[in-house]
Symmetry: C2
Subunit: 353 residues, 2 copies
């Protein structure tokens, strides 16, 4: 059934029913002019993000389920990057009135599964028609006593990342070859994930695996890269937080996000290409696609790992990739040569990757 | 200059510079992963709204300045409707990279003027390219100790509205005839409004006035209706608040919003057509356009007046339009006949006006 046959009020009732899970802090959730939350004696964190079809996502590459999941993760990552605990979510969605109901349902299943993963509550949002294409935005509210800013890095601090970089960008390159959405099984942590029910697509997945295999690519290498792009999970920074002097999440690419951190902290940075963590899957697949894995790791976006700095004497359970300097920003390449870097990476209205 | 020639980072710097007004409650504003606000010992209110080109607005009818102003007002109205004080704003904007810089500037001038009017601070948002057309969303955070819900109306309560209805819908009808954006002078309260500087458009305005005059319409009647549609001001409910048992803002039309209030409160309503407040301008212009003013007042959206209920013995400084009943929902027409009503009005994906 198409959304136009169901009507806005019925859709809203449906959403309200689905997300009526109670929280002791919610006085008024979905269904009034605004959400009303009890006061909490902690600093309040708020972040918002917009995702527009054709710019941030392409429904030929991503399933509505994955899109919903990703929209939540992206916002959670921003709250985590401040050292906070995300809690209350608001979702705006504008979509064509000829959209089929199952697309709408799958999108909200992705939202629901991500909410479960991160322990969130939906408290509001807006539902509307769109003239053409889908537009989404989410707002996430969190709380924290102690916070970590982009500002705070000092010369002599070490620079760390929390995991492999470039996987997501490589996943996107793969999708550009595959040219169709790929259903991914839910991870163990999302055991109730709705993606498993798309049985009819299993044949497609089988065909895809054969196709990849014919090209010498193994599903076991491809799947983690696709997952990093389609269903990224925000990195909880809890175990680093007591040591971090500054922090940012890597959403637009290491170089652009490190530049932002340096801009805010008014410092420079020296990073070592050979220290940038690259997954074995990325190495294999990138060489197959004839792309430089290090290039993807430096300039590819959407990895949602944390980038942070800490005093050199502190023990840090993360990957050391370089040092904060007074002012110059350089990357030492594999052969030991120093090159200056600037805010490269994805920039709307400007430099493209 | 086009936005693509300026680049995202330069635009963000520009916005950050423009909105760096300090507030003692903002620890971190624009420019980090999330905004960080000091705890306040009051209930927190959050609302969000999305506006999509071609659905919620048409740039052939509204100037970017008015659009920015309206986006803020719409959200302020939601916070007011809970009895709250709006405070912190986040804006998401997706627009074509070939957009001219002055459109972007004018949009933010509208945002700024509305922020000044309501005493708001911009603390975050997202800026991105769009494939086609403009998409906007805003999130507004407010605080309140006492709150008023849609739930709470009791049989025997009186129903009130805070001002004339139908003006905005009539303004929209006028714009459909005028078929071009109309610059409006800033009101006294927005003395620094940027609309005055568009001198080049004064000739257009003069031509428009002549055209209206030839049709027998006076600018003095037309202007307030256009203003209600293009630059609505949210109605501060302060003077009613101690008496209200339930409240909602009229964004989608009196009948649909009264139905919502009745649904939540599980009550009925009886309203009197002859008591619905209609401006003299609406009467004149609607008769000219051959539209029923009462129809616009009942089903037209975007008036942003408050609709609330109160005990009958309370003295209320608002317009009494009917009574809360046990369950039936009727409107008594001018000739005294009772008609049932349901949630008519604008509904996305469904019934159109």
């Amino acid at each position: 059934m198409k959304l136009s046959q169901i009507g806005e009020l019925a859709l809203l009732r449906h959403i309200r029913q689905r997300f009526k899970k109670p929280s002791p802090n919610i006085i008024v959730g979905i269904g009034d002019d605004a959400a009303l939350l009890k006061p909490v004696n902690k600093n309040l964190l708020v972040t918002t993000d917009m995702m527009v079809e054709g710019v941030h996502f392409n429904l030929s590459f991503i399933t509505p389920y994955q899109l919903g999941f990703k929209l939540v993760s992206v916002n959670v990552s921003d709250i985590y990057a401040m050292g906070g605990k995300p809690k209350f979510l608001l979702i705006n969605i504008a979509l064509d009135k000829n959209t089929e109901e199952n697309i709408f349902d799958d999108f909200f299943s992705g939202i629901t599964d991500a909410m479960e993963l991160y322990g969130l509550f939906l408290v509001g949002g807006d539902l509307s028609a769109s003239d053409k294409g889908m537009a989404l935005s989410a707002t996430l509210i969190g709380y924290t006593k102690r916070y970590i800013r982009r500002f705070g890095a000092k010369a002599g601090n070490r620079i760390y990342v929390t995991g492999n970089l470039g996987d997501s960008a490589c996943g996107l390159e793969l999708l550009r070859k595959i040219k169709s959405p790929v259903s991914l099984a839910s991870s163990k942590r999302r055991a109730k994930g709705k993606e498993h029910r798309v049985k009819s697509k299993d044949t497609l997945l089988y065909a895809l695996r054969s196709k990849l295999s014919a090209k010498g690519l193994k599903w076991i290498d491809v799947e983690p890269l696709l997952r990093r792009h389609l269903m990224p999970e925000a990195r909880h920074p809890e175990k680093f937080i007591s040591n971090a002097t500054s922090m940012i999440d890597i959403s637009d690419g290491l170089l652009i996000d490190l530049s932002r951190l340096c801009d805010e902290s008014k410092v420079g940075a020296k990073i070592y290409a050979k220290k940038i963590p690259i997954s074995s899957e990325l190495k294999k697949v990138a060489s197959h696609l004839r792309i430089s894995p290090i290039k993807l790791a430096l300039s590819g976006g959407e990895d949602y790992e944390m980038l942070f700095t800490a005093h050199p004497e502190r023990k840090v359970k993360a990957i050391y990739i370089g040092d904060i300097t007074e002012s110059e920003r350089v990357i030492v390449d594999i052969s030991g040569r120093e090159k200056k870097f600037s805010a490269e990476g994805y920039q709307h209205f400007g430099i493209q990757r």
